[in-house]
């Protein structure tokens, strides 16, 4: 019997988050290195309060590199533990520190821009250069759109052989204004120009819920899924997708079984309040269907395992079969290996979710003959 292998693209991998390591700081101009030495780079970044994780870095124990350093600090080790383990075609590197800083919170504007550039330069030299299967998300000071646009341009035009390895523009889901607001449109214009999706990765340091902060990490981890609602509502009702018809949005680590019920709700709200938003050209659910992608980790676990098939079917009959993309969240504790999908998920679905959908969204080539098969022992799952 032939063993079927599914080529894999992992849409969510995290380099170590500490931004103050000497490797990154070396890319800052001296003026800002001095400043960071005195004031720090993430001063008062947890404005939503602290709920210490159950492990430092919220990481897998076994993801600490044998030679030392934080999980996700060694590209070679990450390659062995992830890319090689599952014979991946590619993986997206999504940085956490710029997300905690909300694109420039509590930083002088010039430092915010210099810091994002430093992180991008470090990722290029240490990660992208180390293996052609690493792809980058561009960190930008997105609350300062003119500077964000310049950073996108720099990554896509001034990085020579690496220009095409940048595949996404990164945002946190708690912008200072809802992300559909016209103040951010210059960024979307640039993203559309370069064919880059806008990625929103979970984490908040600004505000945890619309009723203030929660008290437990358990609770925070649940509440993250609520970011989706105002975020997509803003994109839809501001008419962003009419203004930028080729713009694509990826919701990363924000779960996904909510997406279709939310689309229904937006359609209802629209039908009741249509007179307020005559500028919309289509139904909210149509914008969501055509413009929004989702990463899978943490994989949905309905009480009745059969209901995962229902959810996948809902995506398919709603015209969104091409919108789900596998993600591992390596090296974090709630990491999903490709084997995290229930065995019932069919071959065709597995192929789309594990690699094809992300390859199409980001323009990443799937490497023929590579990938993972359900026949493979779940080594990493036991690790």
């Amino acid at each position: 019997m032939t063993v079927v292998k599914y080529p894999i693209v992992d849409t969510d991998v995290h380099p170590a988050m500490n931004p103050a390591v000497p490797g990154v700081m070396a890319y800052l101009p001296q003026r800002w290195r001095d400043y960071v030495g005195e004031i720090g780079i993430m001063r008062n970044f947890m404005t939503g309060g602290e709920r210490p994780r159950h492990r430092e870095f919220a990481s897998r124990w076994d993801a600490t590199p044998p030679a030392g350093g934080a999980p996700g600090s060694n590209p070679e080790f990450a390659r062995a533990q992830l890319l090689d383990q599952f014979d991946m075609s590619g993986a997206m590197l999504n940085d956490i520190a710029p997300i905690f800083l909300n694109g420039g919170k509590h930083q002088p504007a010039e430092l915010a821009a210099a810091f994002c550039s430093a992180v991008n330069d470090h990722r290029r030299d240490e990660w992208l250069a180390s293996d052609p299967r690493w792809y980058g998300s561009i960190n930008t000071p997105y609350e300062l759109p003119h500077l964000a646009v310049e950073e996108i341009r720099r990554c896509k035009e001034d990085m020579g052989e690496y220009n095409d390895r940048w595949k996404q523009v990164m945002f946190a889901p708690d912008n200072a204004r809802p992300p559909g607001h016209p103040s951010y449109w210059p960024i979307y214009e640039a993203a559309e120009h370069y064919g880059l999706p806008i990625g929103f990765h979970v984490l908040a340091s600004r505000k945890l819920t619309s009723s203030g902060s929660c008290n437990f990490y358990f609770e925070e981890h649940c509440d993250w899924a609520a970011f989706n609602f105002p975020l997509l509502s803003s994109f839809v009702f501001e008419g962003v997708f009419d203004r930028f018809p080729k713009l694509k949005v990826a919701m990363i680590e924000l779960s996904w079984s909510w997406a279709i019920p939310l689309a229904w709700r937006m359609d209802h709200a629209y039908r009741v309040m249509k007179s307020e938003v005559p500028h919309l050209q289509r139904l909210p659910s149509e914008y969501i269907r055509d413009h929004v992608w989702y990463s899978t980790q943490p994989i949905e676990e309905p009480e009745d395992p059969r209901h995962i098939d229902d959810v996948l079917e809902l995506f398919e009959v709603s015209g969104m079969a091409d919108k789900l993309m596998y993600s591992s969240d390596y090296p974090h504790w709630d990491y999903d290996p490709p084997s995290a999908f229930p065995k019932a998920v069919s071959g065709e679905r597995m192929g789309r979710i594990l690699g094809e959908n992300a390859a199409a969204l980001y323009g990443i080539d799937l490497i023929e003959g590579t990938g993972w098969t359900p026949e493979q022992p779940a080594v990493a799952a036991a690790a």
Partner: protein
């Protein structure tokens, strides 16, 4: 068809069994209407300052919008849903409910002065009692409380909570603090002591950004996203151990939809498995606690295509969790016939009346 209106059909054609409507609204027509229920001091304060009443209600329900009132229910010369006769004409007579649960959302949270806010809450409750509850035995109601002052909340619950027609305490979904937090635990104790349901309802504080991502531009944008206010409140009440402290507590989620519950609950169950050492009092899976301690009104339903809606209802895995509501006079385009068709036959009488009858002890 928008069934709450019963256009081109009759109530018996929609459902020939018993009906209980768990969310109808009374609107305070003007601040002056409350004067008979205020001490002279507060009347003077209102008059001297030219204050017209809290701005919160209009912030959440722009008065001229469909969201505030369905055009067919909008009276020519007076405020919508401001007299019991209007409620009778539009809901109680055509729908013939055994009971209706009356909610008066007046936006008290936008008034800061603690004594004044408490006086306003008392006036609203006494107005509801005299002008609505005393005038129609089919009505039961929520009492309102000043959300920033737990001591005053408890006092108000003690003052009116024993009235047989007050069955619930209205807790606005948006608040300065999440409702499960310890500062509010005495309030839940008072509710349980008076056998009152906690009614988590659309609306709440107008302070600060209404979302995790700042100030939205459009009203419809905010309304469409308001699951964001309800879901973390449910998670807070569960995470903080309120249900272990008060195993008798009942929480209704009103005008907040329910299609988010399965997805939200799956995530809570999963996180609980991974992180429950942090909340050791949580001795059961969150979704099991939701099914036992929470009920959800079906206006709005936010329904999708009927065959898909049936699946989304099935994911709840309970016949007892949904309760019929018209949300009078607010406009929705829900079709209760489609919802009834989407739920199992055994669930229909429960959804239309029996779950609410048990829940509110009617």
């Amino acid at each position: 068809m928008t069934t709450a209106l019963l256009e081109n059909t009759s109530r018996d054609a929609v459902w020939d069994g018993a009906v209980i409507d768990v969310d109808v609204h009374a609107n305070v027509p003007s601040l002056q209407a409350l004067y008979p229920y205020m001490d002279q001091l507060w009347i003077d304060w209102c008059e001297e300052r030219g204050w017209k009443g809290p701005s919160g209600a209009a912030a959440h329900y722009p008065p001229k919008s469909n969201r505030a009132c369905r055009p067919e229910w909008r009276p020519a010369e007076e405020a919508a849903a401001s007299r019991v006769e209007l409620l009778r004409e539009h809901v109680l007579d055509p729908w013939k409910p055994d009971y209706a649960v009356l909610n008066c959302y007046y936006g008290i949270d936008s008034l800061r002065h603690p004594d004044w806010a408490s006086a306003l809450a008392r006036a609203v409750n006494d107005w509801v009692r005299s002008e609505w509850l005393d005038r129609d035995p089919r009505l039961v109601a929520s009492l309102v409380v000043p959300a920033r002052d737990p001591v005053a909340m408890v006092e108000e619950i003690r003052r009116v909570g024993s009235h047989p027609q007050f069955v619930q305490v209205l807790l606005p979904a948006r608040n300065d603090q999440l409702w499960g937090q310890r500062v509010f635990h005495p309030v839940f104790a008072a509710m349980v002591e008076h056998d009152l349901v906690a009614g988590l309802h659309y609306g709440g504080t107008t302070e600060g950004a209404p979302s995790t991502t700042g100030y939205g531009s459009w009203f419809v944008e905010e309304y469409a996203a308001e699951w964001q206010a309800f879901a973390p409140q449910v998670t807070s009440i569960i995470s903080e151990g309120v249900l272990q402290l008060h195993p008798e507590l009942r929480v209704s989620v009103l005008e907040g939809g329910f299609l988010w519950v399965p997805s939200w609950g799956w995530r809570m169950n999963k996180e609980w498995k991974g992180l429950r050492r942090e909340v050791p009092w949580l001795d059961r899976a969150p979704l099991d606690l939701i099914r036992e301690h929470f009920r959800f009104s079906v206006a709005p339903t936010d329904a999708g295509p009927p065959e898909l809606l049936a699946k989304a209802v099935e994911w709840l895995r309970s016949d007892d969790i949904l309760m019929f509501a018209t949300d009078y006079p607010h406009m929705h385009d829900d079709d209760i016939t489609a919802l009834l068709a989407a739920v199992p036959e055994s669930m229909r009488p429960k959804l239309m009346a029996e779950t609410a009858r048990d829940w509110y002890r009617l």
